[in-house]
Amino acid sequence: MSGIGNDVVALLAIDVDRTIQYRFYSKIIVDSEKLIYDQSLASSLPFEYFVWLAWSIKESAYKCLQRYQHDLVFSPSNTLISEVNLPGIFHATPSEGIGFDGAPVCKAKVNIGHHQFYAITVLNKEFIFSIVSNNNNFADTYWGIKKIGSAEREDQSLEVRNLLFQKLHDLYPADQFRIEKSIFGFPVLLRNGTDSDIPVSFAHHDHFVGYAFVLGS
């Protein structure tokens, strides 16, 4: 069984001055994570990017686990990131893929209690897009991210579904897909009217939307 969670942060929509204030970032990262930044990332990554990188990883981990632990409460301070491997900020990143072989990405580990997850993040100057799974092998993870014209919630929701359905149509042209929300809030992908058992996750922020799903889980 592979779970999946994703999140996107539109970097043009963040408040940089606010993000770098202790009062703000201390609600997202803890001392051990600040230490990771100070010791290994400070020379290559603006601090505000790191704060939102941490947020996107933590929110993705929450979405991944909440699918199975329905009463889970999102708690950034109890979602701990370790072993961050970030080659740098990238000027050109792919907008979709299957897995991340060869793609310039950030890798990290993240824990919620005794649950360990693996995070992959696509990071450039426009957005931070994270995917988290309990499986360290992302070879069967399909993902896509798109810049859209509207930042309205209804448009984000429509666009991200269309993006997913286009990919699914490419893969399974004969099948009909639909999304329903479970009573616990996570998306359920229906294939020809029945639960596909394909874990899928959606994310949106400002003018960016993104999806991730796992086949063969």
């Binding site: 963040i14 703000f24 609600k27 409460v73 919630r153 809030g185 949106h204």
Partner: protein, 84 residues
């Protein structure tokens, strides 16, 4: 402050982060910040910081984790005000 007064004042804290003005005008304890007010999760920390500034209180990790609907926000703020 009464719970009703805090709830009413919270509308101005939520306002910059929601476009659902009709729902905002009619919030109650059960109103969910994300699913009902359509507030992006990335703005939840903004709301906590703004509430801290408005009431001159400090909201710790555990309390912040509870602030997922209007009722829990009011509870946390009321408790912190009582501790001042």
């Amino acid at each position: 402050m009464t719970r009703e007064e805090i709830l009413d004042e919270l509308k101005s804290v939520f306002a910059p982060y929601t476009t659902n003005k009709e729902m905002l005008a009619n919030i109650n304890d059960q109103t969910d910040l994300i699913t009902d007010l359509k507030i992006n999760s990335a703005n939840l920390v903004d709301i906590i910081i703004d509430a801290e500034a408005k009431y001159n209180i400090e909201i710790d990790y555990d309390s912040a984790d509870k602030m997922i609907n209007v009722g829990s926000c009011v509870d946390v703020i009321a408790e912190k005000l009582k501790q001042k």
